[in-house]
Amino acid sequence: MAEQQFLLAASAVLFSLGLLGVIIRRNALVMLMSMELMLNGVNLSLVTFASAAGSTEAAVLVFLVFVVAAAEIAIAIPIVLALARRRGTLDAGSWTELKG
């Protein structure tokens, strides 16, 4: 039981760190990494609850999360590359094309 609580606390910490990173960090790559961190927090909590509830469905969901996270990054990296080529920086704060 104590082990489960520890794992859940760790997953909550991972998720919160990721969320905080998405909100406050301005480097595009760090934002993407924070997004991954959130998903890993989710995975840890899913696995913990899945083993507690004996749910295969939740374990399958973990694998789907991997796949979708990879797909998201596969779309994100070309976008970041296009932006970095055009602007010469990865700092989202300095991209001011869209404001208001």
């Binding site: 859940l8 998720f15 990721g18 969320l19 998405v22 595009a28 934002m31 993407l32 997004m35 959130m38 998903l39 927090g41 989710v42 909590s45 899913l46 913990t48 609850f49 899945a50 507690a52 509830a53 749910s55 469905e57 939740a58 399958v60 969901l61 789907l64 999360v65 979708v68 797909a71 998201e72 779309i75 994100a76 976008i79 970041v80 296009a82 932006l83 055009r86 602007r87 989202a92 991209w95 094309e97 869209l98 208001g100």
Partner: protein, 459 residues
């Protein structure tokens, strides 16, 4: 597995998939990039008719029990989105080249259809991701200005955050109720334990993010402005409809418990006021529509305060009216080689004296979005606020109504540009196929204006 149930119950999805695969084969086999529009239109029409037919015959089944079930309401929702996609695809002519944008459109619609039949968070997650991932690429695909990539990245990061929140909420609900079925959300609403409440709030926050409710709205103005007109129309009409109809399915028969009324009422209320106020100072048409969509997301999420019985009816009518109006407005916009200039509100100056038909359809769209009678936007708003009042939240409904009429100013300002300004020398080119798209919207708009009851009886 019951093959017959899988075949008939998922017929709209199968048709979309077949059309998309055919499009890939055609692209592989032809030397020059083929024109994807005819095939995409045929696919959309076939899937739309299939969904309509299944909704009309009241088909219900369980293709994948526990994961994916179909009922007439789900088919009606699918028919709404597939039907709205037809004029959107017509708008894409001349903006997006080659078959690939249509391919992405079909896959995104496949995801939208999945979300409406989802019975577990697993299917819901796949559906929402399949709905969103192609849209990130489509936002980027225009690449008219430097803003496109920036908009796509912002949309992707915030969309990914929303997915992570949805999954975390689902995981906490799994811990609280021991199941991943979406019924665990309704159970969590009533449970009142900290774990279940945290899960419910995370799932609701994820839907607020996908639906662009303040304070989770930051991506919408950028994504709407950075994308090209057909993609913006797609996001405004179909992505929003998909997210909201999925939320209706998620809430199911559950009402909002008193403890959660504050966050579920307050954020949409702020959204209405802020969306309408921020829209006033925009000079870009698409950015203005984005803030208007933030306000409309507020009205739509208000529907969840009402009784569960009238909820699907109110939300479905609203997304039909709202989607039609947006596509109608976008079809009336001038096309231009310089996208940023064509997007400015000033470019509508004197539209009436040059293209009266476009100006009139734009006027109808704006008045309906503002919620003025006799247009369908009024009936849609009326249904939602009536449900909120009947649930006993009179104060909240009155505040919402007041906030909603803040929006009059900027909708009327568009009319002022279109009708009162004198024409400057240059001509405004119309979009190719825009007439077809706007006629496809105008006919249902006329039906909804004169016979709203006919549709309401059938929802």
């Amino acid at each position: 597995m019951n093959w017959q149930a899988v075949f008939i119950g998922m017929l709209p999805e199968h048709l979309l998939l077949a059309g998309a695969l055919l499009l890939i084969v055609v692209e592989l086999l032809s030397r020059r990039p083929p024109d994807g529009l005819p095939l995409a239109l045929a696919t959309l029409a076939a899937a739309f008719l299939a969904a309509l037919w299944l909704a009309a015959t009241g088909h219900a089944g369980e293709p994948f029990p526990g994961q994916l079930t179909v009922d007439p309401a789900a088919f009606a929702g699918k028919a709404v989105m597939l039907g709205l996609a037809i004029p959107v695809a017509l708008l894409a002519r001349g903006e997006l080249e080659g078959p690939r944008p249509y391919l992405l459109l079909l896959f995104s619609l496949y995801g939208a259809c999945l979300t409406l039949s989802a019975d577990s968070f697993l299917t819901l997650f796949i559906g929402l991701e399949l709905l969103s991932l192609p849209v990130y690429v489509l936002v980027m695909a225009g690449m008219r200005g430097p803003g496109s990539a920036e908009a796509a990245l912002k949309y992707l990061v915030l969309g990914g955050t929303a997915s992570a929140m949805l999954l975390m909420g689902a995981s906490l609900l799994l811990g609280a109720t021991g199941t991943l079925a979406i019924a665990s959300f309704a159970a969590g609403l009533g449970a009142g334990t900290p774990l279940a409440t945290a899960g419910v709030l995370l799932v609701v926050a994820a839907f607020f993010l996908k639906g662009a409710v303040v304070p989770f709205h930051a991506w919408a103005p950028d994504a709407y402005q950075g994308a090209t007109v057909p993609v913006t129309a797609y996001m405004a009409a179909i992505v929003k409809a998909g997210v909201l109809l999925a939320a209706v399915r998620l809430f199911g028969e559950a009402g909002v418990p008193p403890a959660l009324v504050a966050p579920i009422a307050l954020l949409p209320l702020v959204s209405m006021a802020w969306g309408n106020l921020a829209a006033i100072r925009q000079s870009s048409f698409r950015r203005m529509i984005a803030y208007s969509s933030i306000a409309h997301a507020g009205y739509l999420f208000f529907a969840f305060l009402g009784a569960p019985e009238g909820r699907f009816e109110a939300v479905a009518f609203y997304v039909i009216a709202y989607g039609l109006m947006n596509v109608l407005a976008f079809a009336a916009l001038p096309a231009g080689a310089d996208d940023a200039a064509a997007d400015r509100l000033e470019s509508l100056q004197g539209l009436y004296s040059r293209r009266p038909y476009a100006a009139i359809t734009l006027g109808i769209a704006m008045l309906s979005l503002a919620g003025l009678p006799p247009f369908p936007g009024f009936v849609a708003k009326f249904l939602i606020f009536r449900n909120v009042m009947e649930a006993g939240y009179t104060g909240i409904a009155v505040a919402g109504l007041l906030a909603s009429y803040l929006g009059l100013y900027f909708y009327l300002r568009v009319l002022q540009f279109a009708f009162m300004g004198s024409a400057s020398g240059e001509t405004i080119p119309a979009r190719r196929l825009a007439l077809g798209a706007s006629l496809l919207c105008l006919i249902p708009v006329a039906l909804l204006t004169f016979f709203p009851g006919w549709l309401l009886e059938r929802l």
